[in-house]
């Protein structure tokens, strides 16, 4: 089993609902909480998060696009964070989930240095390392309705940009979507074999110059109509 997330960068709108739902669930969780907040009411609030959403702009106006990029632990198949842990607190389960035993962690930070993705954060108030658990206290909980046995971030996503499943199963939804839409791994060349994948964003929309016939003489021109049809076909084929 290789449990992991599939994140669709095409539909992610960068709303941070995944990050806050994660913090809400895991911050009060017996296995991963607390996710402490420092100076929460003051001038420079910060805190521990399993999942952070970054935003990047690519291109220049009008051919620009905002990429929203949520990042949490990728649950690498060859997890360097587990290899370097001196106390055995970091471990990888048979189902692929990488966890930290909070009772064994001494907060030495080696795993955070080893992780090329910046997925681990030290909780300064407990002195222990915190990281995504794939909501291991949700996904196997048979008291929850089947549809809710998923990570909190997946359930929270309003655009259904996040999917959870088993990458070892070629028929799972995450495996099929990865195959169909060119899902990719982050920094694959580093060799840690991250399990989580990302679906690429669409190409930015075509913006026609002012001189284009469809802009200069809209509606009545037959050539403009043809151009519209071509544009529509182009959009559908993307």
């Amino acid at each position: 089993m290789k449990l992991g997330l599939l994140i669709d960068l095409d539909t992610c709108v960068g709303c941070h609902a995944c990050a806050t739902a994660c913090k809400e669930w895991n911050g009060a969780s017996a296995i991963s909480g607390p996710l402490s907040d420092y100076d929460p009411y003051g001038a420079d609030p910060s805190g521990v998060w399993f999942n952070r959403v970054r935003h990047y702009e690519v291109g220049t106006y009008p051919d620009s696009k905002t990429i929203n990029y949520p990042m949490s632990c990728l649950h690498c198949a060859d997890a360097a964070c587990v290899t370097v842990c001196p106390t055995g607190a970091s471990y990888k389960r048979d189902d692929g989930i990488v966890l930290v035993d909070q009772d064994k962690c001494i907060g030495c930070n080696l795993c955070a240095w080893a992780c090329p993705y910046g997925a681990r954060e030290l909780d300064e108030s407990t002195g222990c390392m915190k990281k995504c658990t794939l909501c291991v206290d949700r996904i196997y909980d048979e008291r929850l309705p089947v549809a809710e046995r998923q990570p909190a971030c997946v359930l929270a996503c309003p655009t259904h940009a996040r999917h959870f499943g088993d990458y070892d199963d070629p028929d799972s939804a995450v495996s099929r979507m990865t195959a169909e839409r060119g899902g990719f791994r982050l920094l694959e060349e580093l060799g840690y074999a991250p399990v989580n994948r990302y679906l690429p964003p669409r190409a930015p929309p075509v913006v026609l110059p002012e001189s284009d016939p469809i802009v200069a003489e809209p509606a009545t021109s037959a050539s403009a109509l043809m151009r519209l049809v071509q544009l529509a076909r182009g959009a559908l084929s993307r």
Partner: protein, 153 residues
């Protein structure tokens, strides 16, 4: 306040500069962030990021009070015209939803003079600002009843 990169350059305003934003109704002081993905004649911002000091239990030095700003100071409650005794004025909002008229407000953007920093207008702190707040927040101490958990043994 998000401003197109080219527009900001034409106005002599750099990313992070303090600016005055004015409408026919009022003005406010805010910081701008330059951005490619915004139409050159449009500026935009998140809704309601400015807070009176002490609101939400925040301390008076919280960025919501020192740097956050509220666009409402630029938006009149009534549409212009029909001013005078006995006339009824039209509410400046969407007639169906009642939502404020965010999207059709003309504004002027100018760079602040040197030394003019911090969000403006400012208000006296709310009484709650004086309440002592924890320096570190840990959920188990502030258990969240909104999180539904199964009663696992």
């Amino acid at each position: 306040m998000y401003v197109n990169v080219v527009t900001a350059a034409a106005l002599g305003i750099a990313d992070g500069d303090w600016t005055w934003l004015e409408s026919q109704h009022g003005k406010l002081r805010c910081r701008i962030r330059t951005m490619e993905g915004v139409e050159p004649n449009t500026v935009w911002t998140w809704n309601a990021i400015g807070k009176i000091p002490g609101a939400w239990g925040l301390r008076t030095d919280a960025p919501e009070a020192t740097e956050g700003f509220l666009l409402n100071h630029l938006i009149a409650e009534h549409l212009p015209g029909n001013v005078g005794e006995g006339t009824r004025r039209m509410m400046n909002s969407d007639p169906i939803t009642g939502q404020a008229a965010w999207f059709d407000l003309r504004v002027k953007l100018t760079k602040c003079a040197p030394g003019e920093t911090g969000a403006w207008p400012r208000f006296d702190p709310l009484p709650a600002a004086a309440v002592e707040r924890p320096a570190v927040l840990r959920w188990p101490q502030w258990a969240n009843p909104q999180v539904a958990r199964s009663s696992a043994t």
